[in-house]
């Protein structure tokens, strides 16, 4: 049992009832529901390894399974190299400069990945 906190003098009838209105919460919940349904039906800008367009659900799943593959991952600089100014830095697969001309990202989604803990 916790100790009772001493009560400072209050006037209950002067206190806000904190009653919430219905419509702001309802409208926000409705917007959230629509956005959620859009997300389930959303095709991303990323490709799967098969060349199909990845669904958003596939992308989210790829986050947890190490399923993102970077086009130039072999050329990715190590964190140590980034600190060394004498080592030339290759163009990053994450930078917009290296994006292909067709607007597709070089990042691909491996829907079969099963790496247990990517980090």
């Amino acid at each position: 049992m916790r100790n009772r906190v001493a009560q400072p003098p209050i006037n209950p009838f002067a206190r806000d009832t904190e009653r919430h209105e219905f419509w702001p919460g309802f409208v926000l919940a409705l917007v959230g529901l629509v956005v959620m349904v859009c997300g389930v039906r959303h095709l991303t800008n990323l490709e799967t390894l098969n060349g199909d367009t990845a669904w958003e659900t596939q992308l989210v799943k790829a986050f947890s399974t190490g399923g993102l593959q970077y086009g130039g991952s072999a050329a990715l600089p190590r964190p140590d190299d980034l600190m060394n100014p004498t080592i030339p830095r290759p163009p990053s697969p994450l930078s917009g400069r290296s994006a292909p001309a067709d607007g597709r990202s070089k990042v691909r989604v491996n829907t079969e990945a099963k790496t247990p803990c990517p980090t």
Binding site: I10, G25, F26, A29, F63, S64, S92, L94
Partner: protein, 296 residues
């Protein structure tokens, strides 16, 4: 606990609040059946609404914090809008606010259990709750974004919310390290993660829900909806006997006697045992506006 009235008489706790207090651990236990992959991991493509590592061998949904950080790191490569994540959090926030923290979050439940180890608890100042927004903006959005701009994919970022997360250490790194040892491999858990886990366990024993109160970015985000959510706590002036049981009950250190639908609240509903605070749903026929209760 009884309310002692200013007249010296006493009043028993409200029956609804007492019932809620009694069933909460059971509801939290029942929700483990939802989050701990009873049907496998085929729902990993959908972000959940509670703090539970998606790399845990037992996780039904994706961790919303990890998903948000991944989206931020991916931003330099492609502009992807996290519709699913935004939708899930909007619906949950608008309907219930931080009710999920108090009643269904497995990591919150774990801290509740760890908190029973040591009887006394260290009080922490309320302003530390702003740490949740520092973590949300700094570690979940800005850091992965900046490192992503530098060409480092999220998985390879040396400092990230996932690498520092105690839930990840406990629910993913620890079990996979144990599995690895049993299969003859080396201990995989880094020293940093072990340190984070140890610090969390000690903190959870001496402070009530330290992660939720100081660092949880998801709880901080959902708590922003506490001021408008359909489910909320309503103050009934005519029931208040100025006993301060509500504030004495609050283990999160919220000054419940002044305002209750605030960002520091996890809606465990312990304060409702006093009877003056009533859990309720907003209805369309409710009269508009807030303000003091009519006298009498």
């Amino acid at each position: 606990m009884e309310c002692t009235l200013p007249t010296g008489q006493s009043r028993n706790s409200a029956s609804l609040g007492t019932k809620l207090k009694r069933i909460r651990p059971w509801v939290q236990t029942a929700f483990l059946g939802v989050w701990l992959a009873p049907l496998g991991t085929w729902l990993h493509g959908i972000p959940g609404c509670v703090f539970h590592c998606y790399s845990c061998p037992l996780s039904s949904f994706a961790c919303p914090v990890g998903v948000a950080a991944n989206y931020a790191a991916l931003l330099p490569a492609t502009l992807e809008v996290p519709y699913l994540l935004a939708g899930v959090l909007l619906v949950i926030g608008a309907v219930a606010g931080s009710l999920v923290c108090g009643w269904s979050c497995p990591f919150g439940f774990l801290q509740d259990l760890l908190g029973k180890i040591a009887p006394g608890k260290v009080a922490i100042p309320g302003w530390l709750g702003n740490g949740r927004y520092v973590v949300l903006i700094g570690f979940v959005v800005l850091l992965p974004l900046l490192l992503g701009l530098d060409g480092i994919p999220y998985e390879k970022q040396a400092v990230s919310i996932c690498r520092l997360c105690p839930a990840g250490a406990l629910e993913a790194a620890l079990p996979y390290s144990i599995i690895g040892i049993s299969e003859g491999r080396e201990w995989a858990m880094s020293g940093l993660k072990m340190g984070v886990l140890l610090a969390f366990l000690v903190a959870a024993a001496v402070i009530h829900r330290p992660w939720c109160r100081i660092l949880c970015p998801l709880g901080g985000f959902l708590a922003l909806f506490n001021r408008i959510s359909l489910f909320h706590l309503r103050f009934q002036a005519e029931e208040c006997v100025e006993c301060n049981l509500c504030r004495s009950r609050c283990s999160m250190g919220v000054r419940v006697d002044q305002k209750v639908n605030v960002t520091g609240c996890i809606r465990c509903l312990e304060c409702t045992t006093c009877g003056a605070l009533e859990p309720t749903l907003a209805k369309p026929q409710d009269p508009p506006g807030q303000g003091p209760a009519p006298r009498g």
